[in-house]
């Protein structure tokens, strides 16, 4: 990998089985100068994370085929090299219990669908400030 260890990564892992939401999130990230790395579902995100930890942040849909967003977060929180990567969950789930479980598993922020570009950018800003603090 060409990125040196002390340089802050601009790469953001985006996993969502919905191509519309994935493309929209990726576009906002590109506009803000980040490099989205896209995964079509939770299993693909898990495979990427097994080999690669050079991410500034991660954005997961909560409900994905094969592996849910919460399952990927649980994996990340058991791996020392991934533990500090802040994770934003995107969901149209309104069940408070589901959200509580995700926070308990290690999600950093939530964004509810439907969202506006402004809401997405604001939440991403908070996510990246967390990743800066995490160092």
């Amino acid at each position: 990998m060409s990125i040196t260890k002390n340089k802050v990564s601009t790469r953001v892992l985006v996993a969502d089985d919905d191509p519309v939401i994935r493309h929209l999130v990726a576009s906002v990230l590109k506009k803000d100068g980040y490099t989205p790395i896209e995964a079509n579902d939770g299993r693909e995100a898990y495979r990427i994370l097994q080999a690669d930890s050079n991410f500034r942040a991660a954005i997961f849909d909560m409900m994905m085929p094969y592996l849910e967003g919460i399952d990927v977060i649980r994996y990340m929180r058991t791996e020392k090299r991934l533990i500090k990567i802040p994770v934003m969950m995107i969901t149209s789930e309104r069940d408070v219990k589901v959200m509580t479980n995700s926070f308990t598993a290690g999600a950093t922020f939530f964004l509810s669908k439907p969202f506006t570009t402004k809401q997405l950018q604001t939440t991403l800003g908070m996510l990246f400030s967390m990743s800066a603090k995490a160092g």
Binding site: D18, P19, V20, H23, L24, S27, S92, K113, P114, T116
Partner: protein
Amino acid sequence: MSGKSMTDSVNDAVDMTVLSGLEGAQVDGEPDLIVELIDLYLEDTPRRLAAMSALLEQRDALSLRRAAHGLKGSSATLGAARTARLCEAVEEMSQDGSLAAVATLLDGLEQEFAHVRQSFLNERRKRTNKELAQTCLPCATQLLTGT
């Protein structure tokens, strides 16, 4: 359905203020994001609707709920609020095991998607014509005169 009410259904199918609100994510120099999102939605939704019909036949309520949940999110984000509400109803009915009601809702979803599709295609045409007119003067003249 009369011609007028069909037109109304198409016009009401998508809230264009919600859709155009996503223009804030447009990256300079890249293709029109809204057109790309429309294309992705129109490509993905028939597949999702077909999957939901198949799941209903298999009486797989859990997977049906998940499929409806997925379509709800992208529909609401792009301004197709009525589609999103129908998806939410499918989610709830699937969870309750009311699969007969789900069958009726899926018929409604198919009809609503036809309106959404037409509405998105109209918007897509406007945007691509505008883009073409900005890059090609003879094309702009053709579009204006209809020749």
